[in-house]
Symmetry: none
Subunit: 123 residues, 4 copies
């Protein structure tokens, strides 16, 4: 598990992103129970308050459900999760393409650069 927190951006934002990714990528499957705030905080070496704040945000997004007595769990609506995954991905692509086009890259160049770099990473 990552939990790589850098001091350049707010901790709680990074926690939101990382937990989001764990949900969307299936580390926490739909309907599964989430560890307690305390445990999550300890695992991420973070103040419980900070973890608390991150979970609240995820609840607002609808990815997490709070049960009054028995902790939190991932939403059971698998469709919703998949939809979120696609939506976020398309956003990333959109932003990426816009930035590259502003730099004067055309489609061909973008594709060739990205395939080149994707193979470097592979090593």
């Amino acid at each position: 598990m990552p939990w790589d927190l850098k001091p350049d951006r707010p901790i709680y934002v990074q926690l939101v992103e990382q937990i989001e990714q764990m949900i969307l990528s299936g580390v926490f499957p739909p309907g599964s129970k989430l560890p307690s705030v305390r445990d999550l905080a300890k695992e991420a070496s973070v103040n419980p308050n900070t973890m608390q704040r991150a979970l609240s945000e995820l609840e607002e997004e609808g990815l997490i459900i709070t049960h009054r007595t028995s902790g939190r769990s991932i939403t059971e609506d698998a469709g919703m999760i998949e939809k979120a995954r696609i939506r976020i991905a398309r956003n990333h692509v959109d932003e990426f393409l816009e930035k590259m086009q502003k730099l004067g890259f055309d489609r061909k160049e973008i594709l060739s650069l990205i395939t080149e770099m994707i193979q470097e990473v592979e090593k």
Copy 2:
């Protein structure tokens, strides 16, 4: 001219990015003179100090040269500019790939999604 500054990130960072792009896209051609700090600041409705900081960063990058008493100019070294363009592009690709992989997309999926969307944009 852009100068659209949003309050979500430091202004000086956005200034750096926007001026960077003006240089890379030829709004300020290599070797040309840059308006004075005060003029640029006024135009962007920003405090001169903030603009100054942005320009200093661009100087560290090697895109801008400052002549102590007679203003600043864009570097004449076209190679320098091209290098900056590549560097920035690779940064964008890096960030993009990292985000997508965290969402659980593998190389093949990333490439197919991006080629799909790049053709939508084309229309």
Copy 3:
């Protein structure tokens, strides 16, 4: 403690040098916590912004690490510190040799003069 600031060079540069030296000479040991910007500024009778700028430079050099909400500390990487010490020393030697050569001293003369004077100091 030094904090002798002369008006002939930018204050923030002198601050960088002096703090640098405190780190290299062990006044602030590796891993130790640094006083807050405000405290340091007050101690040096300097505006907090000026001190902040000095600390930012030290961070870029890798000598200092900043924890967004809990202050700054000296890097724990002793190698980093040693590298800085060498880098600065070589700079001094470079500047020194250049000055001497411009005065028309050749290698032999430089070495003999310096060995002579180094022994005077010894007394």
Copy 4:
């Protein structure tokens, strides 16, 4: 001839230093006539006012003499020149040694580092 002027320090200071060095190293021998301000300025690609200012400083130091009608010349007092050369050199060594000792280098280390670097330069 050097005339390498960098934009990081006042031009006229650099001119003073470089002309000083030419005198002390014998490029302009004692008693010899100095080119006119205009010529010197043209050669250094500098505004005559700036060169003028540099020469005034050298005059104050006593290295240069102005003849009301026939330009300037180097002082004829060869002893004075040699004394200045030595004095300045010893100052450089002093400053250098002090800096190195502050960095924690002892005599042996200083000598070994300097002999090492002096040979690198030689290549």
